[in-house]
Assembly symmetry: C2
Homo-oligomer: 259 residues x 2
C-alpha cells in the first residue's frame, strides 16, 4: 500500500491525506523509497489549526500573522495589517471618484445621499457572506473551478431572493418613517422608496455573485482564494454598488427629482 504525496502545498495535501485515509501516522520516503521520517496525526492537528488561523486572518482582511497575537512585535503586527488596509483604501478611493461623477445628482437630490451607506454596505455584507462560504467550501475540497456554474446558479437565485427581502424591508422603512412623520423624504418619497428597493436587489445580487466568483477566479489564477477577504469583496462591491444605485436613481427619478 502506498500513498504518494506530491509536495506542492505540503501542509494542505498532508491534511487531506490524513482526512481521507483515517491513519495515525504516515511514513515519509524519498524517491528511492528510503524512510526519511514519520508524520503523525497530532503534527497534522497542529498544522490544521495553523492553516485555519492563516485562513481566518486573511478572510478578516489582513496578512496571516504567522505568530501568536500575544507575542507578535508591534512593528510586525502593523506591517501585516497596514499593507492590505492601504490597498483596500486605494481601491475604495474609486468611490470618491464615482461619487464625484454623481455630485450633480447629489446636490439636486440630497435625499439620495442618505441611503448611500445603507445600500453599499448591504452589497458588502452579502458579498462577505458569499465569499467566506465559498472560500471555506473550496478549502474543504467540496468545490473547485469546474463547479463555477453550479455556484453561480445557486448564488444567482440566493442573491435575487436575499436582495428582494432587503429591498422590501428598505421600502417599508421609508414608507413607515414618512407616514409616522419621523422624516420627510420630500414629495417624491414613493419614487425614492422604489429606487432604494430596486437598487438593493441589484446591489445584493451583484454582491453575492462577485463574492462567490472571486475566490474561484483567484484559485484558477493560482492565487490564494482566501485573499478575496470580506473587506476586499466589500470594497469591490462599494464602488460598483454606487454605480448601480445612481443608475437606478437616474432611471426612476429622471424628470422628477433629477431633472
Amino acid at each position: 500500500m502506498g500513498i504518494s504525496l506530491q509536495v506542492n502545498h505540503p501542509q494542505k495535501e498532508a491534511i487531506s491525506i490524513f482526512r481521507n485515509n483515517s491513519r495515525y501516522a504516515l511514513p515519509v520516503v524519498n524517491d528511492s523509497g528510503v524512510l526519511l521520517g514519520i508524520v503523525t496525526l497530532d503534527d497534522v492537528l497542529r498544522l490544521v489549526e495553523k492553516e485555519n488561523t492563516r485562513e481566518i486572518q486573511k478572510i478578516g482582511g489582513s496578512e496571516a500573522l504567522d505568530e501568536p497575537y500575544t507575542s507578535i512585535s508591534f512593528v510586525n503586527l502593523i506591517r501585516k495589517r497596514a499593507g492590505w488596509l492601504v490597498i483596500l483604501f486605494l481601491g475604495e478611493m474609486l468611490t470618491a471618484s464615482a461619487m464625484g461623477h454623481f455630485a450633480d445628482e447629489i446636490s439636486k437630490a440630497t435625499v439620495l445621499a442618505l441611503f448611500i451607506p445603507l445600500i453599499i454596505s448591504s452589497g458588502g455584507n452579502s458579498g462577505s457572506q458569499a465569499s467566506s462560504i465559498i472560500i471555506r467550501s473550496m478549502a474543504l475540497g467540496e468545490i473547485g473551478f469546474a463547479d463555477w456554474f453550479f455556484v453561480i446558479r445557486k448564488e444567482l437565485f440566493s442573491g435575487l431572493l436575499l436582495g428582494t427581502i432587503l429591498g422590501i424591508v428598505g421600502f417599508f422603512r421609508i414608507f413607515l418613517w414618512q407616514h409616522l412623520h419621523l422624516y420627510d423624504y420630500g414629495e417624491h418619497w414613493k419614487l425614492v422608496a422604489l429606487t432604494v428597493f430596486f437598487a438593493l436587489i441589484g446591489v445584493v445580487l451583484w454582491g453575492t455573485i462577485s463574492g462567490s466568483m472571486l475566490p474561484i477566479i483567484l484559485k484558477k489564477l493560482g492565487a490564494d482564494p482566501a485573499a478575496s477577504s470580506a473587506p476586499f469583496v466589500a470594497t469591490l462591491v462599494d464602488v460598483t454598488g454606487l454605480i448601480i444605485y445612481f443608475s437606478v436613481a437616474f432611471i426612476i427619478l429622471q424628470g422628477t427629482l433629477l431633472k
Copy 2:
C-alpha cells in the same frame, strides 16, 4: 493519570485536551469510572475542521451552515444567510437616520458626501481585521477576558498608527487631484483634506478598538465571539464613523464651508 472533561462545550474542550496532551486516543468514562468508549485523534481532526468551518462562516456574517455548500437545500441556505443579513440591514438603517441629521451639512457642502464611503469603509476594514485576529486568538486560547487591557493598549497604538497612515494617503489623494486638476474640491479644499485626514484617524482608531473589544465582551456575556463577524463590526463602525466624520467636519469647516 486522568484527564477529566467537563462537558460544557464538548467539541472545543476535547480539541484542546488533544492539542495540549499529544495523545492519539482518550477513554470516555462515566461518573463511576466505567468505560463508555474511546475518542480518537482522527475523530478530533474532523471536529476541528467542523468547528473551523462554523467559525469562518460566522466571521463572514452568516449563520454556520452545518451542511456542505454542495448539498445544502436552497431553503436552508437562504434561511442561514437571510437572518443575519436582515439584522445587519436593520442596524445599518441607523446610517440613514444619522445621514438625515447631517442632511443640512450635506446640502451646504456636497463635497463632504464624496468621502463618506471611503471614510466609513476604512473604519469597517480596520474593524474586520481586528475582530478576526482577536476571535481567532481567543479560539486558540491565547487570550481571554482577563487580557482585555493588554489588547486595548495594543489596538490603541495600532489604530492610531494605521489611521495616521490612511489619513496621510487620503490627504495626498485630495491634494494631488486638486493640483492635477482631476477634480475641483472648491476653494476650501485644504480644509476638506484636513477634515478627511483627522476623520480617518478617528474612524480607524474607533474601528480597531471596537473590532477588538467586541469579541471579548461577547465572550464575557456568554455569547459566541465569532458572532462579532466582519460585517457586524463594519455595520457598527459605519454608523459611528458617520458621526465622527461629521463632527470633525463641523469643527474644521465651521465658519467656512459650514456656515
